[in-house]
Subunit: 127 residues, 2 copies
Amino acid sequence: MFQAYQVKSRISQVLKNYALTPEQFNVLRILKGSHPNALCVKEIGGRLIERNSNVPRIADRLEIKKLVKRSVSAEDRRETLMNITPAGLNLLEVASQELEQFQGRLVNLTEEQAANLNQLLEAMLQD
Amino acid sequence: MFQAYQVKSRISQVLKNYALTPEQFNVLRILKGSHPNALCVKEIGGRLIERNSNVPRIADRLEIKKLVKRSVSAEDRRETLMNITPAGLNLLEVASQELEQFQGRLVNLTEEQAANLNQLLEAMLQD
DNA sequence: GTATAATATATGTATGTACATATAAATGAA
DNA sequence: TTCATTTATATGTACATACATATATTATAC
């Protein structure tokens, strides 16, 4: 948990250059993954690590910055669909590039060590 | 980070039985560690994983529940000293017991695997 | 076909983090 | 000694999580 906190803090510092929080960045990445197709709020939430993320409120902030657009689904009017805007794609592109370089310098493991770490983490929790 | 989130969530569920958050629990544990000596706000903050924890506000909530007491330091009147109360010690005792049992069942690694995981995590980050 | 249940989203409230700023007290330089 | 600087804490604001509840829409039971 200490290392997870460290990683998140440092990612946060990099994203601050783009006025993004890690959560906002993750939502943008998910939307880019489905682009040009929209995703509804529930689908986005299901792809986030934090199962209790409040996607409507993160969407509020992204919408104010015009990085996403919301619309009501025609098939199911309960659903709010979200799309990343061209401005969102541009910002995500530059932020992702800096973040990838940063992470490359940050992480200090061989491929074998990384695979080993991953395996231990996956085996760690009961249930 | 996914596993750190899982662990924190499950700990959170257990502590909810005692109306404690993980952060409040950690502050109580730190205060118990120094008991019967008090600790100032800065010392407590320095022992938490989250470097930016806002100890005064966590202390507000613990004080309302009468689990800690605050006082002004005589040696340095800028410092706010904190002490765990008898009620705090009692609550911590029962909560800790349930949490330890829970964590024993939760974590699924041999001693060797745990040592290996720990070593990989420590080596993981540059700087 | 209508009433009820289930679902998707939004929103209110409590808690916490991140960070800027305010305030009081101690320290140090002149 | 006096005044500027540093330090410890508190507090304001923005953002996020956790969870309860409200609302609108769809699905289902009869």
